[in-house]
Symmetry: C2
Subunit: 213 residues, 2 copies
DNA sequence: TAGATTGTTAATCGATTAACAATC
DNA sequence: TAGATTGTTAATCGATTAACAATC
């Protein structure tokens, strides 16, 4: 139970542990060891043990492991999946509409309140039972619904403007799919979902392997 | 010019530098300093300098910086954007179709050859001028077109099976959007595009800030 | 020349991995 | 009890940051 701030890589891994734990819970496996998790994830047990130390509320038992359900609850709590956070999506293109329709977000404590778009032809439509509203309503909706997270799926050219509007409306965090760096006050965390960067990683890996082979 | 293997965080940042460089090239800015890039990215110049040292083919000039065009070419080369890599997408749901329609991939050297789906109702349709084919054709298409990257956009439940089929067909790298850990031979790099992990990061940040304030 | 920016080497920081005593 | 797995402390590794001489 180290309980300091959780390192970013640990946070990422813990998210994946949760999915495995939910699976084995379904199979009525009451306890789970760091070795079990490590095997599933292709990691070394020490990594898992260290990660879990950040989030467990009770000690695991030597020779047995952790109680599956307890571990699930601890993870959900430390990832804040137990608290519902409201979000909105700005940009109702293909990607925006896809995210609007994604059913899985609720499981992660994310509640999409509404969509926004600049084009009058899209405004007023309904995607996944959620209304698409004009940008003018941004501030009102954010304030009235305690919206914390703004998801940006507009084009690169509009992203900074949308970002500024979100910040002005009092958003707490930004999740952006637009391939451009955003200028925001340092208190507002930004998560970049960067396709290009992912691709770079892969093509770099492919090349490295080729060189070895 | 350090020229060892590029650290992963550097690779990510360099991808973003490229977008800025393309912008300033359009504005006819012939040279650029690490300070310029750092300002744009909200980084310290030393970070940029170190990153560029991994990929530059020519030295920058003190007091001046780097030649914009040369730097762009160096980055494109080290990220392999100059070589076209063929890819396929398996899973023609909303996300798969969105990726099929994404025009930007070409700029990153990625050429989507075809889509695949298990549902007969989808097979035979055309998305963004690319045909959707049955899974049975996977191996043939991959072999005949030198397809290197397999993009998985199927549901969680089918992801491992699809992954196995891709591996059996000789794929070189996997880019997956399914929220599940994949078992693959260690020589095949896998890039997980994990929405849940991104969300965790954000909600964690929000919480940290709250505690501070 | 003076000063800004370069490239590189050294110091610091944070995350991973190893080692090991504790204990079920 | 013996052995497996735990939690924690120490050692290693890699990335970031600082320092500084070189030079346009």
């Amino acid at each position: 139970m180290l309980k300091n701030k959780i390192p970013k890589p640990s946070l990422n891994r813990i998210t994946c542990y949760l999915r495995f734990l939910n699976d084995i819970k379904k199979n009525n496996q009451g306890t789970v060891s760091s070795i079990d998790i490590a095997n599933y994830m292709g990691l070394k047990p020490i990594v898992v043990k260290k990660d879990l130390a950040f989030i467990t509320s009770h000690d695991g038992k030597p020779k047995v492991g952790y109680k599956t359900e307890q571990l699930i609850n601890d993870i959900k709590k430390s990832l804040h999946y137990d608290i519902v956070t409201n979000a909105i999506i700005v940009g109702m293109g293909k990607l925006g509409a896809t995210l609007m329709s994604y059913q899985g977000f609720e499981r992660y404590g994310l509640n999409i309140v509404a969509g926004f778009d600049a084009h009058p032809s899209v405004v007023g439509t309904v995607v996944n039972a959620k209304r698409v509203m004009p940008i003018n309503d941004l501030k009102r909706i954010i304030e009235n619904n305690d919206v914390r997270i703004g998801i940006i799926t507009v084009q690169r050219e509009s992203a900074q403007l949308v970002c500024d509007q979100l910040v002005a409306a009092g958003i707490k965090a930004i999740w952006t799919f637009a391939p451009i760096h955003l200028n925001v006050p340092s208190k507002i965390p930004v998560k970049y979902e960067d396709m290009a960067a992912s691709l770079s990683f892969l093509s770099n890996q492919i090349k490295v392997i080729k060189k070895r082979g």
